[in-house]
Amino acid sequence: MIGFLTGPGLDHWVIAPLVITPLMGAVMILAMRNHLDLARIFSVATVSVLLLVALGLLWSSAGDTIVAYELGNWPAPFGIVLVLDRLSALMVTLTALLALAVVLYAIGSGWDARGRHFHALLQFQLLGIFGAFLTGDIFNLFVFFEVLLIASYGLMIHGGGARRLQAGVQYVVYNLLGSTLFLFALGTIYAVTGTLNMADLAERVATMPPESSSLIRVAAVLVLGVFAIKAALVPLHFWLPATYAEAPGVVAALFAIMTKVGAYAILRVHTLIFGPDVPVMAGLIGPGLLWLAMLTLVVGSLGILGARNLGRMAAFAAIASMGTVLIGIGLFTPQATAATLYYMIHSTLAGAALFLVVDLVRARRAGEDDRLIPQRPMPQNGLIAALFFASAIAMAGMPPLSGFLGKLLVMDAARADALVWVIWAVILITSLIAVVGFARAGSLMFWKRPETPQEAPLAGTGAGTVDGTVAKPVAKTRATPAAGPRQPALPLAATCGLLAAIVAMTIFAGPVSGFLSATATQLHDTEAYIGAVLTREGDAP
């Protein structure tokens, strides 16, 4: 397969992720709407094939060739292009890997059976994410954003329930506002430059005279706002906690990549088109983004400490990790970009693992109760506690896992910046806050027992009244912990798989960060990108 991919047919493989997913999604809706087993088989097979294709694309992108795939064979600034470079190949691979874990978890935990069309929605969600990573046209980016959003609306309310639907309405309203803002930004960009192709835009914005720059600066800030909504940059993060906490755990795990779509878009658009070296952009994006990113990190960490249930805690951990990612992006140097990419991959995997652990806990406590209160031990208490411990260490950025290395790389990259001491202080102090928050949550959930003296004997019988207010609904509904229903092994395997990927990232940190350095260099070398996309313009008859 690899040989196939590096051959002359390579160009056409770029579009494969965008063809396979909607095709399988449609097949699942049309032919398998009542056949869950069939849909499961096809879903696992499709995601596995996607992972193979993504690995092939990653392999071929490592040769430093940027492939521009012209849809309908229209030459570049007129038609829509898909662009495969190291960064997009990397993000596609990460998405496919995450999707495999999510699909396996959803099947094992039975989440996909709690509502209809889980697997089809997942395919369309993947289509949107892959498209956003691969496209080289900014209006097409908007369209793929909408694709991934509309699929995510369906996934977010999967399984139903009053709370989830209410949170879903908020999520949709927030993102529709974001989409409207995106349209305004695109209108402004088109009015000023007359093009929507990213490479063409980069060329035109770079040569704009600084004295007539006000409109394009407005457009740059508007698109930053749109991407910041996706990336949950404070103060645009308000959609995230309720959404992630109320969504099914497995969907929240998939959404770990969604905030990274926003980060990717900032990275792409604000280095390629509105880069810090562009005369009209001088000093516009970087400093402000850096301060807001630090604020994001602080808010996220305080949220971890202050959260009263596990789902919200994991959501705030996701916000905090985006803070670190965006600090790296806000520095806008190749070294910082390489560091932030490392942390971004790590935090996607760690965030997803944490949400899966949250779901494991919910599945084992009565009424899916994930409040941070002491309860009687759940089935497999020790194992779940160990998984929580590992993912919390990863999320907080403690050694020995890759979160530590990622934060170290970001801090190292910040050394050249004027704000180095502020950045270091923020990262280190928030890490401490996060550690305290996770430790408190973990000991409350897994270690501490209810204080009510009657609780222990009652736990054996599972009946009677309890005067403790906090544990009241649980004691009534819950059977004896040890004799609970047998827990399926596949969800545990999927969670362990994600954690194993984090361990692998730690062990192979050298090669991975070598690849990421090359990725960052390629990203900041905008000439190469523009050349690859617009190269055929002159050749066209």
Binding site: I157, A162, L165, V169, L177, T180, G187, A191, A242, R308
Partner: protein, 119 residues
């Protein structure tokens, strides 16, 4: 014409923002629709306003109106139409399951009573 057009966009957007900030889902959805109309008009105007001109450039013509924003507006209209349908269904489902159409929620999980804070 430019003044008329831009003030129309401005009024639509202002009304949309006002409605989005209301507390009930219905005005919020109306506000989103108005905002998307404003965005569509804005997109349309991004190719410059021109009267009675052909949409594509023919060598005989010296002036033409830009066809691309019209294609963009079509895409945007289709998407916002679909999204509005989705959010109407979602809001309806949320109203029917929680018996309140308030857009905010409190942390405890009990939906706020329907009487307080009428929007």
């Amino acid at each position: 014409m430019e003044y008329l057009f831009s003030s129309a966009v401005g009024v639509l957007a202002a009304a949309g923002v006002y409605l989005v900030l209301r507390r009930r889902t219905f005005p919020v959805i109306l506000g989103l629709s108005l905002l998307s109309y404003a965005a569509n008009l804005f997109l349309f105007a991004s190719g410059r306003l021109a009267l009675n001109l052909p949409p594509v450039w023919v060598s005989a013509e010296t002036a033409y109106t830009d066809p691309l924003p019209q294609a963009l507006v079509l895409t945007a209209i289709v998407i916002s139409f679909g999204m509005t349908a989705v959010i109407v269904m979602l809001a309806l489902g949320s109203f029917l399951s929680s018996r309140t159409d308030r857009i905010d929620m409190d942390e405890t999980g009990t939906p706020p009573s329907d009487d307080e804070g009428r929007a």
